[in-house]
Amino acid sequence: MRTKLLAYSEDRSWAAQIKSLSDSIKAEASIFLPKKEIAEKVSGLYEEIYYSDLENFDPLAYISAFFEVAKLLSPEVAVFPCTGKGRILAGLFSAKNSKSVATDVYNVQSKENNLIAKRLVYGGKAEVDLELKIPATICLLHGSYVEAKANVESRFNKVIKPNASCRVIFTPKKVEGMEPDKAEVVVVAGRGVKTKNDLRMIMELAELLKGAWSVTRPLAVDEGWAESWIGISGLMVSPKLYIGIGVSGQPHHMMGARSSKIVVAINKDRNAPIFDECDYGIVGDLYVVLPEMIKKLKNMKQK
């Protein structure tokens, strides 16, 4: 009998990645999404799509809707995205079943009746193989699996909206330009960038590369130059190209960019840890290198 897998997602990209994971272990996958509009976007990826009409993120209400589906299907594996919300829901779900969660998982294999999950720990500096007894709960890292293609006929099933557990008011984040977790190129400023005004150069480079810009946590939290940042406590991205400028490359930050296809670093310190995990690096002053890069790319564009 095939393993039954139940996924949670809030968008198509995650839904498609979890579907790939599911295919790779030959599981029979269904998915739950909080809202109808999002559910419609994953049409063709899963045969059974469950949705509710949940409003702003209320963890306990969201998990009770997910539970309704789980009661119906009795899945052996539940998979959540390794995002802020996904982690919260995974914790709530697994504890009700008295089971552990494997978070930060980037690979899953089946072994007899159980699963072996590869998990990153210590900010991605180290890895662990976990033998998960079924039923298991997993939080999957972004970019670990390529997105599956839509190739099935989907049936849509509505789950009744559970009661709210609290009052919620939501303010969507303001994004200047593209959203880093959806872009193919992400240019990141670190503390080597000295003033808020200098961020303009970062934005300009991002725009020339048709990508998004972001920052490391100190620039968002201590300086307040941006609303979000890249890293384990911020956004996890997996673009084709990540460029870190004046970023030292500490593990908590790099964890959020580990699955980028190509990593480029510009830093004046040859010993910065980011040079150990980049494909291409320039050791130099960003105030010299960056204007040069912008100039060259502009010239290229004009030709």
Binding site: V101, D129, V289
Partner: protein
């Protein structure tokens, strides 16, 4: 009001090194209380100051670092400190930790608020708080950057991947606090000396009725990603121009620009 704060001493992973076989050298890695955990404790202490509350600090583990962590919490101002004596605390599964804290809360409660860090400093799974909420049927506020607790309600702001959530919830509640929430106080010398004479109470896990599976095969090894590591120099204007030229050519042939 009675408040529990769960604290985890964590490795400073920026300083973590590996041996030639890729085994992490944990013995030589410095350990301190997680940043977010200290912020969680700070929130509890602020409630105590404005609302009259008793603040209990607890950790799961029995190593010297765990004892030191609770000692630090007492110095900061916690009223009582507990050690749940589980062996091998670094390796037990998240559900084991969550269950230990939840049953401890049942034994020593009832609590109005249970605080944890939003993520542990080293493993940062961010799931222990939600698990405790599920185990005890408490409300949950996860990832709070701002918290305000009154007699019967909590108001909190949480920044998440898609924006900012403002919550108002009843008690009892589990609140997980980010390291952005506040500046944790630094204990005075007097407080440190006073804390040295305060008892750290030990809890035998057998009284907590735990029966949980554990992860097997916990073999932690260095994770290396295959990267090309082609490093160019740009010590002056001329070498900067050349290096940029080369990088652009590389990126074009990679097909990423």
């Amino acid at each position: 009001m009675k408040i529990l704060v769960a604290l985890k001493p964590t490795y400073d992973i920026n300083q973590l090194k590996f041996d030639s076989e890729g085994v992490p050298l944990l013995e030589t890695c410095p350990i301190t209380l997680g940043e977010a955990d200290k912020c969680a404790l700070e929130e509890a202490l602020r409630i105590k100051e404005s609302n009259k509350a008793i603040v209990i600090a607890v950790t799961v583990g029995e190593s010297q670092s765990h004892i030191k962590g609770i000692r630090d919490a007492l110095a900061m101002g916690a009223d009582e400190g507990y050690l749940i004596k589980m062996k091998n605390a670094w390796n037990i599964s998240s559900i084991a930790v969550a269950k230990a804290i939840a049953s401890f809360a049942q034994l020593t409660g009832p609590y109005d608020v249970i605080f944890t860090g939003a993520g542990a400093g080293d493993t940062h799974s961010s799931i222990i708080g939600p698990m405790i909420s599920a185990l005890l049927d408490f409300r949950l506020i996860a990832g709070a950057d701002q918290v305000e607790v009154s007699e019967n309600m909590v108001k909190a702001t949480c920044k998440m991947e898609d924006g900012t959530y403002y919550y108002e919830s009843d008690l009892p509640v589990v609140i997980t606090v980010t390291s952005e929430a506040n500046e944790p106080r630094i204990p005075t010398l007097k407080a440190i000396i006073r804390s040295k004479s305060m008892p750290i109470k030990e809890v035998d896990p057998s009284v907590l009725s735990l029966s949980v599976e554990e992860f097997k095969d916990l073999k932690v090894l260095k994770h290396s990603i295959e990267r090309k590591r082609i490093i160019l120099e740009a010590s002056d204007q001329k070498s900067a121009e050349e290096s940029v030229e080369k990088i652009i050519t590389f990126l074009k042939s990679e097909g990423v620009i």
